[in-house]
Amino acid sequence: MRRALRWLLAVCVVAATTSVALAADLRPLVQSLGTGGYAGTEKGLAQLSEAGDPAAVPVIEALQAGDLYVRKADGVVVIARKAGSDYALTDPLGGASLGEAPAGAIEKIKVNNALRRAISASLGALTLMSPDAGIRRSAADAVFKSRDATALDALNTALAKEQDSSVRRAMEQARAAITLTAGASDEDTRVAVATLAGRSDQDALALLSSVASSSSASETAKAAAASAIASVQLKLTLWGVAQNLWYGLSLGSVLLLAAIGLAVTFGVMGVINMAHGEMVMIGAYTTFMVQELFRAHAPGLFDLSILVALPAAFLVSGGVGILIERSVIRWLYGRPLETLLATWGLSLALQQAVRSIFGPSNREVGAPSWMSGAFELGGLTITYGRLWIVVFAFAVFAALLVALKRTWFGLSIRAVTQNRPMANAMGIRTAKVDALTFGLGSGIAGLAGVALSQIDNVSPNLGQGYIIDSFMVVVFGGVGNLWGTLVGALTLGTLNKFLEPYAGAVLGKILVLIFIILFIQRRPRGLFALKGRAVEA
């Protein structure tokens, strides 16, 4: 992007001899950015963007990036970028090198929210002519947001030359927004209303509503706005349902991830594993450790840290799980209740251990760039982080299903859980299978920890927040049935998200719990209960 702007700058320099003179005119404006605190900077910025000279773009960009400094010695505004222990200074206009300076010799020009807004608006107006379609598009969006009437001329000029249809549409919408905000003739208003009707979002709705309720607009314009509002609202309602579905799916995936390890340790093995949440927490802390290693040794590869963290968390949590099984759980088979007590004790100890080692406060787990941000899908905003978690949850589920149904290990697990003495007699080493099964469940919990570290606190309490929900999901779905866990997680997630807008977060959750209680009355063995000649005597 910066290269493109430089290119633009070069074109301008070549094209117009006057621009040198202009650059000279810009100098005092640039200087004024460095005086008078936020207000002074804002004033300087306004003048700078009013000048309309693309040469100002690098200056403003530097201001946005926090690279614009004042040299304390002479008060000159410079661009300073870290070079070793000192800063390399360049002239904001023209880019000539001005030598180096230690950190103490320069002072940053501070930026606050108001300034950031102004910067976006002026960059928008100034980059409407960029050769890069993406930049023009975001420039148009910035103008749409700022609704800055001073950008109207630039917008009209840019529109006249614009070839790209999507950028054109964005620019037209920006122009319509300015038109409606600033007020315009009846004809223009109607055109603007028509343009905005195509943009089915809240922004458009707000603009259209302002027309419909405006006192100056004509009746016909108002009528056009009203019908546009109706169509936008309908679309928004539909998208709202889709959005709830997506949120439900996303929450359901989180529940699924949290519960699926429990479906193995509790559902398959019958261990009431209260330390399950702590396995999730250990996975999250493993992610933190892996990221710390990346930050220290390979910051450039940070985006890959999550991929490394996955196997690491699986192994660490799985290892801890095996350790727990070998030392405690294996003495307790056939006494499910005792496992509740012992694992509760373990969960207390594990929390405190993590607190002692890592401290009680939150640890920062960063998101790799491919998990940050969001994209728009029609009227839906889908964040990459959530999308990956959904994909990941289903992948883990599928992998577990395959592991249990199609591998020898899975066969052994089923053999051991169904008939231990018989499995033993057939040469299956039940002790080993027990340990590995518990390790598998714990390892999956560790995987969940990697995913949850992206959306939740990484703190010693992380696991506590999920343990109850996990048990609800497994029990709702039917103990011992993986498909039940899947359907249970998605049902409860979606139900929760559909209730939340009406009942609020707290009441919504209460209703879900009551639903579970009532549901269990109807199906005392969960959703996917095995029917058959009852086993109890």
Binding site: R335, A342, A349, I517
Partner: protein, 380 residues
């Protein structure tokens, strides 16, 4: 008939427990109020409140043991009944504050005043009378338990399914009481009580009185519980615990039996909560937290499931450990507590009282021992 019922449960074991409780009821007031403060036999008010709290927990454990140890219903939501009883008492104590709140509103509790409530919600009416509150202490947990049990037992929800929905119940209540809109003071709960039955709640005499009341309630509940266990009803309950379907084929409506024990147990838990609140001075939604219920289960397990004395012992011991370690080892006490739970499960599957039994196992067996099986085929 009533006398016979109480006498039935009174074997020598009960005698020991009741003697200890009677001693507590006499010695504690004496050494607190009469023994001079510099004497080594003086008990501070702090200690009395602490003991009172332990005994409230012991009563909760006793209630839990009645359903879990003798009827096989593992409740992971018993703290809900405890908290409901506590709230009923807390509401009465709130009303007793009268115009002494910070805003001086004679009717509305402070938290309602600053949330701009203008009148007392209907469900607060009546709580200014002690008798009404006392009734509610029994009725609210009892009614909830009855309704919950009626549906759950009829639907034959058993084992972990039952345990988990009891947990769902207490969690839902936690969230509900947490909502400020409910009118129970939200997360802050009810606090800053001034007096109970006209006595200053902070005064040593009142605190000792509350302690004695707790001892009496515990002793009474113990007698009721051991009376039940000694009766034919108790034998049916134990039979239900181990082989419920067999009991049904004998013609017993096991749902009714479970419902009876469950509701009675909830009422006992409610009483425990009601005695707890004036002694600790606060009731808030965190008492509903599933973790509180699980802790209560652990007390019973530590002491010995299926022995009433064990439930009491476990509650007192674990809570004493908690009080002691949070002061002595503030950074490490969770390791100690967690380690204790693991150790008890691994090495004392029948709890501490079971240990005594194990040591004496060689002695010839004689009649009637309810603390037979640890976790058995009925599991939870």
């Amino acid at each position: 008939m009533l006398t016979r019922f109480f006498l039935m449960g009174l074997d020598r074991k009960a005698g020991v427990v009741l003697t200890i409780l009677a001693l507590l009821a006499v010695l504690v007031p004496v050494s607190t109020l009469l023994v001079p403060a510099d004497s080594p036999f003086h008990l501070s008010i702090f200690t009395v409140s602490l003991l009172g709290k332990y005994l409230c927990f012991a009563l909760l454990a006793l209630a839990l043991d009645l359903v879990w140890g003798y009827c096989g219903i593992l409740s992971l939501g018993h703290a809900a009944f405890f908290a409901l009883g506590g709230y009923a008492m807390g509401m009465h104590l709130m009303r007793q504050i009268g115009p002494r709140g910070v805003y001086g509103n004679p009717v509305l509790p402070d938290f309602m005043v600053f949330l701009n409530w203008t009148e007392l919600p209907w469900y607060w009416l009546g709580f200014d009378h002690f008798w009404f509150a006392a009734l509610m202490v029994l009725a609210v947990p009892g009614a909830l338990a009855f309704a919950f049990g009626w549906f759950a037992f009829r639907s034959r929800v058993t084992g972990v399914y039952l345990s988990i929905i009891t947990q769902a119940m207490t969690f839902a209540l936690l969230l509900a009481f947490f909502r400020n809109d409910m009118g129970f003071g939200g997360n802050n709960g009810l606090t800053d009580f001034k007096e109970i039955l006209g006595a200053d709640i902070q005064a040593p005499g009142t605190r000792v009185g509350l302690f004695v009341a707790t001892v009496v309630a515990l002793a009474l509940s113990y007698m009721i519980a051991s009376g039940i266990i000694g009766s034919k009803l108790g034998k049916v309950l134990v039979a239900v615990r181990d082989t419920e379907s067999r009991v049904r084929f004998l013609g017993y409506n096991t749902e009714h039996y479970k419902l009876f024990a469950w509701t009675l147990s909830a009422c006992m838990a409610g009483v425990a909560g009601a005695l707890y609140v004036p002694q600790v001075g606060i009731i808030n939604p965190s008492e509903f937290a599933p973790a509180s219920s699980i802790e209560a289960v652990i007390w019973v397990a530590v002491g010995g499931r299926g022995t009433l004395a064990g439930a009491i012992l476990g509650a007192v011991l674990v809570n004493f450990g908690k009080s002691y370690f949070t002061g002595a080892l503030p950074e490490l006490w969770l390791f100690a507590l967690g380690g204790l739970f693991v150790a008890v499960t691994l090495f004392l599957p029948k709890g501490l009282l079971g240990l005594g039994a194990q040591l004496m196992a060689r002695m010839p067996k004689s009649k009637s021992l309810p603390n037979g099986k640890p976790a058995d085929q009925k599991g939870m």
